[in-house]
Symmetry: none
Subunit: 214 residues, 4 copies
C-alpha cells in the first residue's frame, strides 16, 4: 500500500547545551528554507548542512536521517501555527458567536497564507507527513481550540451535531481554507469567498442547533 516505509522521525540526541540547540535550530531552519526553495526532492543532507553552516557530521549527530529533519520542520510549523491560532483566538475572546466564528476562519486563513510555501511542500510532496505526530494531531487540536472559543459564547450548542456532521463541517471548512491559501484561484475575490464561507458555516451551525433537516 503506497510503499508505506517506516522512517525514524525522532531526534537521535536531544540537544542540551546552548551551542547544540543552536545547531539543531540552524538545521531545522535550513531544511525549511530548502524545502521552500527546492522542494522535497531538492532537500539533501549535505545541502542542509551547508545551508545551516554546520558540518554534515553535526547533522547526523542529532538527526537519524533527512526524514527526521523534515519531520522536525513539520512539527515546528504545526507548533507555530497552533500558537498563532491560540493567540489570535485570545484576542477575540469577548466576541459574540458570529464574529468569533468569522475571526476563527480568517485567522486560520491568514496563518495558512503566511506559511503557504512550506505547507504546500509538506502536504503535497512529503510522503510521510501524516506520520508526524504533530501533523496527525493538528486537526484535532484546531478543533479543540475552536471548541474552547465557542464555549465562551452563548450560542454554543452544536454539541447536538452528529459526529458525521461535525466531521463534514470541519473537513469542508478546513479543506476550503487550505485550498484558498495554498492554491488561490486567480482572478477571484478571496475576501468575498471567505465571507461567503463564513456565512455558510454559521448558517449551517444555526440550522443544526434549531433542528436541521433543511
Amino acid at each position: 500500500m503506497s510503499g508505506k516505509q517506516v522512517y525514524d522521525l525522532n531526534y537521535k540526541k536531544v540537544p542540551k547545551q546552548a551551542r547544540a540547540k543552536a545547531t539543531v535550530n540552524a538545521i531545522i531552519q535550513a531544511s525549511a528554507q530548502i524545502l521552500v526553495e527546492e522542494g522535497y526532492a531538492g532537500l539533501t543532507t549535505n545541502r542542509v548542512a551547508e545551508r545551516a553552516g554546520v558540518s554534515i557530521g553535526s547533522v547526523y549527530e542529532y538527526f537519524p536521517g533527512k526524514e527526521a529533519m523534515v519531520a522536525a520542520v513539520a512539527t515546528q510549523l504545526v507548533e507555530v501555527m497552533l500558537a498563532e491560532m491560540q493567540s489570535a483566538l485570545l484576542r477575540a475572546e469577548r466576541l459574540a458567536f458570529e464574529p468569533a466564528m468569522r475571526h476563527w476562519i480568517e485567522s486560520l486563513y491568514k496563518i495558512s497564507c503566511a506559511q503557504h510555501q512550506l505547507l504546500k511542500v509538506l502536504l503535497f510532496q512529503v510522503p510521510f507527513v501524516h506520520q508526524v505526530p504533530a501533523v496527525a494531531g493538528m486537526r484535532a487540536e484546531l478543533f479543540r481550540l475552536a471548541l474552547v472559543g465557542a464555549s465562551k459564547t452563548r450560542e454554543y450548542h452544536f454539541i447536538h451535531l452528529s459526529r458525521e456532521s461535525l466531521y463534514l463541517i470541519t473537513s469542508m471548512t478546513g479543506a476550503a481554507l487550505l485550498q484558498l491559501a495554498l492554491m488561490p484561484p486567480p482572478g477571484l475575490d478571496i475576501d468575498a469567498i471567505i465571507d461567503e464561507l463564513t456565512q455558510k458555516m454559521i448558517q449551517w451551525l444555526y440550522q443544526a442547533r434549531d433542528g436541521d433537516k433543511h
Copy 2:
C-alpha cells in the same frame, strides 16, 4: 518558489504501430502499479522497465524521463475518471435536479474511491502533478460535465451564482469528497456524510437561485 523544476512531460515519440502502443501501455500500467505499491520514491526507471517486461532502452524510446511516465499515468487516470463520470451522468440523464445532483456526488465519490491509492500517491507525492495538463484541467472538465447535466433539468438557474460562489461550492464539494475517498474518517458513517453533503449543496444552490443573503 517550491523548486519549480520544468520537466518534459510529453511523449518522445508517439507510438503508432500496435506493438509500440502495447509497449507504451505496459510501461504506463507498470508505472501505476509501482506508484501504488512503492510510492513515488519507489518508482525507478529500471524497475518500471522490468515490471513492464520491456528493456530500459525501450522505455527511453518513448519517454524522455521518468516524470513523463508519471505524467502519462496521471493523464490516463484523469481520462478514465472523466469517462466514468460521463457514463455515470449519462445513466442519470432523465433525473430531476435534486436526484441528479445526488447522483453526480455519489458517482464522483465512488470513482475516486476506486482509484484512491493511485490518487493519493499522485496528489500527495508527485511535485509536478499540477503541471500535467489533464490534471490541471480536470476540475474545469468535471464542472463542465456537471453543467451539461444540470442544463437538462428545469431547476438550472445557478448561472446567477457569482464566480466566487461557484468556486466555493465546487471547491468545497470536491475537497470534501476527495478527503472522504482518500482519507476516510475511521468509525464514521460515510453514507450519512455524503447524504448530508448532498443536502447542503442543494440547499446552497437553491438559496443562490432564490437570492441568497441568508
Copy 3:
C-alpha cells in the same frame, strides 16, 4: 557472538554475455589484487571499480556489496587450489602409499605457498570467510581428494581410524602446512620440516592400522 553479521555473498546477477563475464572477472581480479596489496581494510568498492577499469555502477550490477566480491575471490581461490591439488594428485597416481603421502603434503604446501598472500588476508582479516560455502567445504574436499588418492594404494587401511583420530591428523597436518606456507619460521630449513612432518604422519597412520594405543 563476535558480531556475526549476515552478508549477502551471492551474485546479484549472473553474467551471461561475454562482455559481462569479462567485467565480472576484472572485478574479481582487481579485488584479489587489492586484498593482497592493501589488506581487507583497503578494499573499497570504488577502488575495486577503478582498478578493474570498470565503473562503480557496473560493480553493483553484479555484486550486492563488497563482501560478495571478497566471497567471489575466496571461492575462486578455493577452486583454483583444489584444481591444482587434483592435477597434482593425478600426476602421482601410480605411487606407493608412502611417496603418495609425501606428494600430497608437498603439493598442498606448494600450492598454499603460491597463494600465501591472498590466503593470509582472507583467513586472518575477513570476518566472514568461513561463511563462504567453498571455504567451508574446502577441508572436506581436500580430505576427499586424499582419500581418492589413498584408495588406489595397497596400504589403504585408515578406515579404521576413529573420527577423532582422523580429525586430529588432518587438522594438525593442515594447520602445520598452512603455518609453514603463510608464516614461515625464519632461519629454519623448510624442506626438513616438511620431511619430518611427512614421516610423522605416515608413522601415525601405520600405527593406527596396526592397532595403535601407543
Copy 4:
C-alpha cells in the same frame, strides 16, 4: 605486501594516578567486550568511550587511536593467558614428565577455551595482531614456560631436538589446540582428541630422545 600499515600501538600517556589507571582499564575492558560482541569492524572509538563510561576526549588522552586500544586488549589477553599458564604449571611442579606434559596441554586448551571469543576476533580479524609485541612473543614465552617445567623432570632430553623438530612439534601442538578451542569440531569427543594429541606428542618426544628415525 598485505597492506602493512604502520600503526602507533603504544599508550600516548602512561596512566599514573589511580583514577587514570581505572579509566584506561575501563577502556580496555569496553574494547574487549565490543570486540567479542560486534567484531573488529564493530569497534568504534565513540562506542568504546560510551561503553567505558568515559568521554571520547579522555579516550584520546591515553590512546593515540583505536588500533592502540585493540593492541592493549591483545597485550592484556596475552598477559592473562601467560599468567594462568604459569600458575597452572606451578600447580603441576612435582609431576613426572608424562603427566606434566599432559597437564601443560590441557591447561593451554582450557585457557584458550576460556578466551575463545576474544582470541577468535583478535587472531582472525585484526590485521595487525602480530605486530603487537606481546602477541609476537607469546609463542616463545609459552615455549619458555614449557622448558622451565620440563627442566624439572628427569626425562628432560629434548634439547637434542633440531630446531626444525622443535618448531614442528610446538607449531603442530599449538595449532591443533587452538583449532580445538576456537573452532571445535561438532560431534566429536574433544577429550579423546586431546588425549590422543598428548600421547602423540609424548611419543614423538621419546623418539627424539632415543634417536628417532621412526
